[in-house]
Every structure is written in C-alpha cells, then in structure tokens.
C-alpha cells in the first residue's frame, strides 16, 4: 500500500483518528507520518514551512491545479511547483506575479498580509537625479534667453557646463 500523502513510499504507519464521532484511517509512510508529528524512529527536520506548503498544495488543488502550477514568474522563471519544493520564492517580482495566492497564504502564516512596520523608499539613483537637475537648468536657461535675461543665462550656462 502506498502512502496516502506522497503516493511514493510504502505506507508503514496506520493512523486512526476520531473526529466528530467518525473514525478515519490514514496510511502513511514513515516520513510523512513524522512530518505530521507522529513519533517514529525516523529523524526528520521539521520544516518550518511544513504546514504552509501543505496549504499551498491544497490551494493549488482547489484552484484546479495545473493552471496555477504552470504559471511562471516573468523575471526569474520560478513556478508554483518550484515554490512548493523549496518553500522559497525566486525573486521580488514573484510577489507581484503570484500576488493573489500570496496574499491569502500570508494571512494564514502571519495572520495578516499588510505590512505596517517601517516604510521604505529606495535611494534615487545619482544619475537620474543629475539628469533631472540638468533638465531643469536647461529649461531655465531657455526661458532666460527668451526673456533676454542674459546675466542669468550666462550664470545658468556656467552651471550646466560644470555638471556636464
């Protein structure tokens, strides 16, 4: 008999549980049993994401499986199946590409999906900043020439020269 969870290894643990007055029998391999917290002789690292990955699996199954499963992150090519196997996303873009699923899973893991800690703004690139300032100076130079403010125009031209 194969394990009912992984369908790969032989079931050697036969777990009987009683829920809502109904008896359930579950046939598991040693590893899957250990992952569910059943004490076995096998030493397994309890995966911190065990429960979480189980949920992803369920969610994929209820969503029809294959369609979400084959979705790929446009930046790093990570798929839902990769995430299930490793418990890790491939890049920051994955969070946008798998957004809807991630929101639900974060709610389950953290009890919330909304960050309310410190907010952050990435540094503005120096090149971009310089280009913006230069653009503004050139605009002002054009206006100064148009309005015949030649002294101001000369000053602006000098500043632009220094920056270029």
């Amino acid at each position: 008999m194969l394990c009912e969870t992984c369908h790969e290894r032989d079931a050697v643990v036969h777990l009987t549980t009683i829920e809502n007055n109904a008896v359930h029998q579950l046939h598991l391999c040693e590893r899957c049993a250990a992952e569910r917290g059943v004490e076995t002789t096998l030493k397994t690292d309890k995966h911190p994401l065990g429960e979480f990955l189980h949920l992803v699996h369920q969610q994929v199954a209820t969503a029809g499986g294959t369609s979400t499963d084959s979705m790929r992150c446009s930046f790093c090519n990570t798929t839902m199946a990769d995430f299930r196997a490793t418990g890790r996303w491939g890049c920051a873009r994955c969070y946008s590409n798998f957004e809807a699923g991630i929101r639900e899973l974060l709610r389950r893991v953290h009890g919330s999906h909304r960050h309310i800690g410190r907010s952050y703004r990435p540094p503005v690139s120096e090149t971009l900043e310089r280009q913006a300032v230069l653009g503004e100076l050139k605009d002002r130079l054009r206006r100064a020439i148009e309005s015949e403010q030649f002294e101001l125009a000369a000053d602006l031209r000098d500043r632009i020269r220094v920056m270029e």
Binding site: D45, K46, P48, L49, F52, F75, C76, T78, T86, G87, R88, W89, G90, C91, A92, Y95, S96, I102, R103, L105, L106, V109, H110, G111, S112, H113, R114, H115, I116, G117, R118, Y120, P122, P123
Partner: protein
C-alpha cells in the same frame, strides 16, 4: 587560506562577556533583518555571476556606512570547511552561509562583514542578513544599532520593498519587517521544576517560538533556548519587540522564581547534583558535546545560585563556544577524530576550570 579571527574585535565574541542585564539567565540578544537588493533574483535562484555582483554592490555600499567602516570581510567561498565551521560555532554566520548544511551547499559570493556587535551576511537565503548582537537581555540596544545600520545601508542600496507586503524575502515567513528578534536564554530551573512545558506552550500562544542553541532546526541542548518572534508581518517592529521584551521578561522572572523554589525545597539535592556536574567537568577525561553542554548547564545554574562563587559567567560562556569541535581542532592545530575531539574537549574544560578554581567550594 584559513580564517584569521584575530582581526575581529574580541574575536567576534564580545557578546559573551556577560556584561548585559540578567546575564546569569540570558546569554545574548540578537536581532536580524532580512533584506534583498532590487534587480537580482534571490540568492537561491541567482546565478554565480549575479551573486558576485550583489556582493560587490554591497561591499561598495558598506564602505560608506559609518558603523561598518572598521568591518572585516570574510569570503566564505574562499575558506576551507574548518574555518567556516569556526565562524559558525561563534554564531557569526549561519550554517547555510557557511555551506555546512547538506541541503544548501556553499555558494559563490557567500561572505560576511563583521564589526563590533554588528554583522552583515551576504548571499545567505536572502541577499542580506543584517544582525546585531548584544550581551545579556538588551533588545532596545540591539535594535537601535541594527536600525541605524539598516537605514544607512538602505539609503545606498535599493532594497526590494512592496507597498503592501513590506520588505520582500525569499521565504514568506520573513516578509514584512524582515525582523527576527531572539533571546538566548538558559532555563534549567524551569526544566528541573517541570514548568518548562507550560512556559513553552504559552510562548506559542503569544506569537513567539523557540529553538535550540543554533537557531532553526537545531535541538535544545544544555537547557538553552532561543526565544524569538514567530511572525514578521502585520505588526510594527516596535510592537514585535515590545511583545518579545514583555514575554521574555516574564520568562526570566519565572526562571528566577523556579531557582528560588529549587533551592528552598530541594536544597541539598540540587546542591549535590550541581557539584557532581562540576566534579565531572573538572576531572573527566573524555566528554561528548552533549555531556559537556549538560554539565555546563548545571555549573552555570550553580554559579547563578551563588553555590560556586569564584567561577565567572564569562568563563562559562567561553566554554560553550570554545569546547565545540571546530574550535578544539583549531586549538590542537589538526583535524581530530570524534574520540580525539572528546579527549581534547575534556582537556580544555579541565584546564579552564583549573585556572579559575582558586577557592571553589
């Protein structure tokens, strides 16, 4: 090339000096932030070249950060396994970064920057793992240092950040603040009075979790527990810290109370047990790591209860680190088999206790 730990201030183990609050119960406080650099795949998915580019970008940014100006950099990918194990045993790098974890082989571009009480691991599970380490129970101090480092570095490096989800991390359990605060605490009183189960259960109800001495996946040995926040999203850094501060403060009180009860109700039994632990460490000829940890736990309790007065907590803290396998091999200057390690460990512990023995007892 081997690692030259003498470059580090205090050998990177200044946090062992037992100078912080409640140092008889709390060994150290650590806060870490997980961050990623925008524009690259996360470490596990990145190519060798990408990881090296991340490292060079980080290196450049770190050069401008005042708290890391004196930092020493070690390239883990250029160090032999023994040196990497040494850094890991000092709690300066994770098992994953050191490439000692069977699931995660050593990566190119794996590096660590270390300064006094601060560290930045590069190309760990996330591009950056900033950490701040303090002796004793010192969450606010540790936070102030890492917050400054994070702001300085984040002003130079574009971090991956999402308006709704916060700081983005490879593992969704770290997303949001990316912050994990953890307190390394010694709880023999609660273990001996069998109260520990209740305490650990209540931790989980309060949104906290516990691990062994070496973090995730490590077993509890010598009654040392690392208590940390379980979730990182949906609450601010301050709220997460306050919760940890309150709950760990409560655990410290419970431990102190358990120790008083033990001494009051089982005085001579405890005293006998602890002196036997001391005796074993003082005279044993071979000690496994687990044995050493368990006896050290007993002796540490005896020092906390003032049964042994001439032994310092600092010495005991050092023994925890320096009696580990890689440190013993380093001290002996050669690779050791398991039984040689056990002999070397007993020799090392004996010598350290002898030096401080004086008027013990």
């Amino acid at each position: 090339m081997t690692v030259d730990l003498s470059l580090l201030p205090d050998g990177g183990v200044g946090w062992l000096d037992a100078s912080g609050a409640h140092s008889d119960i709390v060994l150290s406080t650590r806060i870490r932030f997980a961050r990623n650099v925008e524009g690259y795949a996360f470490t596990g998915r990145a190519r060798d070249g990408e990881r090296l580019r991340v490292l060079s970008q980080v290196r450049e940014a770190i050069g401008t950060v005042s708290s890391l100006r004196e930092a020493v950099m070690y390239r883990l990918d250029e160090l032999p396994p023994t040196s990497r194990a040494l850094l890991h045993e000092r709690h300066l790098v994770s098992k994953e970064l050191a490439g000692l974890d069977a699931q995660h082989p050593l990566r190119s571009g794996a590096a660590v920057f270390l300064a006094d009480g601060l560290g930045v691991m590069v190309n760990e599970e996330d591009h950056l793992r900033l950490q701040s380490l303090r002796s004793g129970f010192a969450l606010h101090e540790a936070y102030a240092a890492i917050d400054k480092l994070d702001r300085d570095l984040g002003a130079r490096l574009p971090y991956s950040y999402h308006g709704e989800f916060g700081f983005l991390t490879a593992c969704p359990t770290n997303v949001g603040t990316g912050m994990r605060g953890s307190v390394l605490i010694h709880l023999p009183g609660l273990v001996l009075t069998k109260e520990i189960g209740k305490v650990l259960n209540s931790l989980q109800q309060m949104g906290l979790t516990y691990r062994g001495l070496y973090g995730e996946g490590s077993e509890v040995v010598g009654n040392f527990f690392q208590i940390s926040n379980q979730t990182t999203l949906g609450r601010s850094e301050e709220e997460l810290l306050d919760q940890l501060l309150r709950v760990v403060g409560h655990v410290v009180e419970r431990e102190a109370e358990a120790r008083r009860v033990l001494l009051r109700d089982a005085g001579y039994i405890i005293e006998d047990k602890l002196w036997r632990a001391y005796g074993t460490l003082r005279y044993a000829r071979s000690l496994t790591f687990e044995e050493a940890m368990n006896y050290l736990s007993g002796v540490r309790l005896a020092v906390g209860l003032k049964l042994i007065s001439t032994l310092s907590v600092y010495t005991l803290n050092k023994l925890l680190i320096f009696s580990q396998a890689a440190h013993l091999a380093f001290a002996e200057g050669k690779a050791l088999t398991e039984s040689e390690t056990n002999l070397a460990r007993a020799r090392y512990v004996r010598k350290a206790l002898e030096q401080e023995a004086g008027s013990v007892g």
